[in-house]
């Protein structure tokens, strides 16, 4: 069960209309290392985790990623909502506009749609947690590239918040991996 809360996790601000920046930032909505991929990866891997800490971490981080998806959507929506067709054409966002107007859709920065092949759910907790740690680092790197590309200080502020959360999640997944290793090496006594 999930309950919706009518607020953002972080006050996502946008200074001005900027379809060029929206075209880049949308990759964290529907790109390979974006928030949809992160959330769905963790929420589907959690069922086969062997210890309670791992089930909790994947549930809670998977849920927080949904809140990050909403923050990224808010940035993109507000970067393009007042854009003119001329601005959209100048930014090279016209192929997106042709299919989606100014609606939110799950694509990467180059326009490729989201695919489940971005994620894996292996059933092996060591393999899955290593993937999760790599995913957090890839998302952290993406946020750094987006910060390099951003010419809007308000958007940069939110991108910095999201980058920091990737670092915290990486730390929690690393601790979870250690706990799973401990569990696997502990003696199982059945009588």
């Amino acid at each position: 069960m999930w309950i919706y809360e009518k607020k953002l996790e972080y006050p996502a601000r946008v200074s001005s209309t900027n379809p060029r920046l929206a075209k880049d930032v949308i990759t964290q909505y529907g790109g390979p290392d974006g928030e949809l991929a992160a959330s769905l990866r963790y929420l589907t891997q959690r069922y086969t985790m062997p210890i309670p800490q791992a089930k909790a971490v994947l549930t809670d981080i998977g849920t927080e990623e949904l809140a990050h998806m909403e923050i990224v959507a808010t940035l993109v929506y507000n970067l393009i909502r007042n854009a003119t067709v001329e601005q959209i054409k100048a930014a090279g966002l016209d192929p997106y506009y042709a299919d989606h107007d100014k609606a939110l859709y799950f694509v990467n920065a180059a326009g490729a749609p989201w695919t489940a092949t971005y994620i894996q759910s292996k059933g092996d907790p060591i393999a899955d947690l290593h993937e999760d740690m790599a995913a957090e680092q890839k998302a952290r790197a993406t946020y750094e590239y987006l910060i390099n590309l951003s010419d809007d200080p308000d958007v940069t502020d939110t991108l910095r918040f999201l980058r920091e959360r990737e670092i915290v999640h990486f730390q929690r997944f690393g601790e979870t991996l250690n706990l799973v290793h401990d569990w696997m090496s502990s003696k199982k006594v059945f009588y």
């Binding site: 607020k7 996790e9 006050p11 800490q53």
Partner: protein
């Protein structure tokens, strides 16, 4: 910034602290300092949310937020992507 936004920002701060402590406790379930902090933050968060909802309508759906009065306040704007934290007005009221 209007009163609604100030109250909302306070809730966002408290809830962020609760989220971060929650994740920490997932892998450190016996950490007494974190447990104490979580209890304090969570109590203050629930108080702030109750005050906000009494004034501005429910923050959560499906019965987890109070709907007071004779109208269904859940559908009232602003939605999260419509709040402009840069100034006093939600986007919808520009």
């Amino acid at each position: 910034m209007n009163n609604r936004q100030s109250a909302l920002l306070r809730i966002m701060e408290l809830e962020f602290a609760a989220i971060d402590l929650n994740l920490f406790l997932d892998t450190h379930p016996d950490d007494s300092c974190a447990l104490t902090d979580f209890a304090a933050v969570s109590q203050e968060l629930m108080k702030a949310k109750a005050e906000f909802e009494a004034r501005y309508g429910p923050l959560m759906n499906f019965g987890f937020g109070l709907n007071q009065g004779n109208t269904w306040r859940w559908i009232e704007s602003p939605w999260p992507w419509e709040v402009n934290f840069n100034d006093c007005k939600p986007y919808g009221e520009e």
